[in-house]
């Protein structure tokens, strides 16, 4: 029997949170197989596209960017949820965020790769991806994109891993009944974590510092993503508002995604104690603010366009409001604003079910919103609206690949929750208060017993 030589703070929910890791029921394996199947079909669809060319999509002249770029923006936007909750709320000192941080960060961690994958899927010559490094031109917003998203991905992995570290050590020490390869994995990943006060102290400091850095990165990343559109001369894209618009949309859709994920985790892993109803109420208030903020941006943007009445801008405006994209546009407005706001104000208090419904609608609506930002402008480009008018119908290939990206996200997330605790146990313990951790010498075994008596 291995003597436990590492300090783990006491947490009343430890058993409940570690329970999912001790078990791997067959229905989970079935779910994973199903999701992997969907991903596999997506891979096949992509291989076919790689061999034949991007002609298998519905893109054409002038709609050169379609569903794939929509996915890119959407997934990068989803990723902002985690950073918002763990980094921005950390800086704001919102203590209620603590149980959510890892679940939210995991969304970041697992959606970013699919955002990047969406771009590679969209490239005409993905085999030449390295050209961006070898021949990179920093005048191009795509280079800013590449830098920012790479930095964000890398930093998210590190931030996530560091926050996970004490809990990996906990798994290493407590999970004696899991397969030996899994125990070895914990041992390696734990990096010899001992739980000393000095280590906790330094960890907290680094996480505080990284939280500030990640906040800056988040603001940069989605602004830079929006500037891929904003820096062109196309009507509907070339607006100064596009940076804040995308940023707010990202945090909005991301927070809604967090609600959905939390509700699922709570139900599937029986984490009612660790994820109380008050969390959902706090998120509800945030989502109300974001929803109204989104409406503000929409009004600011469209009223300005309408009032100015510039012909090329109005072509895109009418495309959205009454033209080919009217049904999608109004559906989006209803899904993102009207129904969720009604639910949040009148139904969702103390009701997780209503929160989830609103959040699902918000995410569908926000995907449509990305579509509405990107495609109508392309159908009425600046000069060509006089000459050629475009139309776009995504093909089955594009839908299959889109679906497989979402399936991949869910798959990675589901696998993760069976190997690592989804609630940060070391952060949510009542006994772990920063003031109690002074770097003073003390015997590690003695500390734990003394604490139990004091509690």
């Amino acid at each position: 029997m291995r003597r436990e030589t590492t300090y783990h703070p006491e947490n009343k929910d430890t058993t409940a949170v570690l329970a999912p890791l001790r078990d791997l029921p067959n229905r989970d394996l079935l779910l994973w197989a199903l999701l992997a199947g969907v991903v596999g079909v997506g891979v096949l669809a992509y291989v076919r596209q790689f061999i034949l060319g991007l002609g298998v999509t519905g893109m054409n002249r002038p709609i050169y960017w379609g569903v794939y770029i929509t996915n890119f923006v959407f997934f990068i936007g989803l990723a902002h949820s985690g950073t918002f909750i763990s980094a921005i709320l950390r800086i704001a000192g919102a203590e209620w965020r603590k149980p959510l941080t890892r679940a939210a960060e995991a969304i970041t961690l697992f959606s970013l790769p699919f955002g990047v994958a969406s771009i590679v899927v969209d490239m005409g010559r993905p085999d030449r991806l390295l050209n961006v490094i070898i021949y990179g031109r920093f005048e191009s917003p795509l280079l800013w994109d590449f830098t920012a998203v790479s930095l964000y991905l890398f930093s998210s992995v590190v931030f996530f891993y560091l926050s996970l570290l004490p809990d990996i050590a906990l798994c290493r020490d407590r999970l004696n009944d899991v397969p030996s390869w899994q125990q070895r994995m914990y041992r390696i990943l734990a990096l010899g974590w001992k739980g000393t006060p000095g280590q906790y102290h330094r960890l907290e400091k680094v996480l505080d510092g990284m939280a500030i850095f990640m906040t800056l990165v988040v603001v940069t990343v989605h602004t830079v993503v929006s500037w891929v559109f904003g820096m062109t001369l196309q009507p509907g894209w070339h607006t100064a508002l596009i940076g804040p618009f995308f940023l707010l949309g990202a945090i909005f859709s991301g927070t809604a995604a967090v609600v959905i994920v939390l509700a699922i985790l709570r139900r599937v892993y029986k984490l009612e104690e660790a994820l109380p109803l008050s969390l959902f109420n706090s998120l509800r208030k945030l989502l109300i603010v974001f929803s109204i903020g989104w409406l503000y941006m929409m009004i600011a943007e469209h009223l300005t366009i309408f009032y100015g009445n510039m012909p090329e801008e109005m072509e895109v405006f009418w495309q959205r409001f009454t033209g080919d994209f009217a049904s999608i546009f109004w559906l989006m407005v209803i899904f993102v604003f009207f129904i969720p706001l009604y639910i949040f104000l009148f139904r969702a208090k103390n009701s997780i079910k209503w929160m989830v419904i609103a959040s699902i609608l918000i995410n569908i609506g926000m995907w449509l919103e990305r579509y509405i930002v990107i495609i109508p402008t392309e159908t009425r480009p600046r000069l060509l609206y006089e000459l050629v008018q475009g139309a776009y119908t995504p093909t089955l290939t594009e839908w299959i690949i889109t679906l497989s990206l979402f399936a991949g996200l869910v798959l990675l997330y589901a696998i993760f929750t069976r190997f690592f605790p989804i609630i940060p146990l070391w952060e949510t313990t009542e006994t772990l208060a920063p003031e109690e951790f002074q770097p003073r010498r003390r015997r590690i075994f003695g500390v734990r017993r003394r604490r139990k008596e004091n509690a």
């Binding site: 060319g53 893109m59 002038p62 050169y64 969209d122 050209n131 031109r137 001369l233």
Partner: protein
């Protein structure tokens, strides 16, 4: 250094599309099947558009109006600005060029161009049987590995090059004949073919060239002048 420019006199243009046809044979533009053309994937470096009639109430002209449009070869090209790998670049003589060997197919330039002159190879280029035996063997020498009429792979962007391979051929011919290069030796295919003699080509910096004199004409205008792109393809409007 010469600054190459094209002037198109819309009064003389009869919209025969000879320019478009000559261009695609000169530059080995891939053919697309009718289903693809219906989708909007035809590759026409020089495209002839019917213009919409905008007048209501006023006596609308019975004459259909057309616009023939090659690349503008802007002096401030928005496409070059956004290319992440310098697959499209502007050379010293003012021609905006495309390097098929380096293009990663991101299509940023295609959405960045406000004139829509850029096209993408959605599939592997193909030609009808027989045509593939008669591709133009001319090649472009220079910074790019694959430019102009070179047979390009799928997944890359292409566009009008002012037939730059003809420029290089003219230089070679002048050198072979032991004389200086003359600007009149360099004529793009569309200019050479034009039925109505509506197209002119030359050095905008040479005050004696036809283009620089026509550019001063009362009828001269450029597309989207307010966009700040400074296009070098200049039109003379009807009148």
């Amino acid at each position: 250094m010469p600054k190459w420019s094209m002037v198109i006199d819309l009064d003389k243009c009869v919209a025969c599309q000879g320019c478009s046809i000559a261009c695609r044979f000169e530059n080995n533009t891939p053919i697309v099947p009718p289903s693809e053309a219906a989708l909007g994937r035809s590759i026409l470096w020089n495209e002839v558009f019917p213009l919409r009639h905008e007048e209501e109430g006023a006596i609308a002209s019975d004459q259909a109006k057309f616009l023939t449009r090659p690349c503008m070869h802007c002096e401030n090209p928005p496409c070059v600005k956004v290319c992440p790998v310098e697959a499209t670049y502007q050379d010293e003589e003012g021609i905006v060029r495309q390097n098929y060997a380096r293009c990663i197919g991101c299509r940023f330039c295609t959405v960045g161009c406000p004139y829509g002159v850029r096209y993408f190879n959605w599939y592997e280029p193909s030609w009808e049987e027989g045509l593939d035996q008669h591709l133009n063997p001319d090649r472009v020498s220079g910074r790019g590995d694959l430019e102009g009429p070179a047979v390009r792979p799928k997944g890359v962007v292409e566009k009008c090059t002012y037939c730059i391979h003809r420029l290089h051929k003219a230089h070679d011919r002048a050198e072979a004949e032991g004389r200086a290069f003359r600007a009149e030796d360099y004529v793009p295919a569309c200019v050479q073919t034009c039925t109505g003699k509506a197209r002119f080509f030359g050095d905008l910096d040479d005050p004696n060239s036809s283009v620089s004199q026509l550019a001063q004409s009362r009828r001269a205008f450029r597309l989207l002048e307010e966009a700040g792109t400074h296009p070098k393809t200049i039109y003379l409007h009807e009148g």
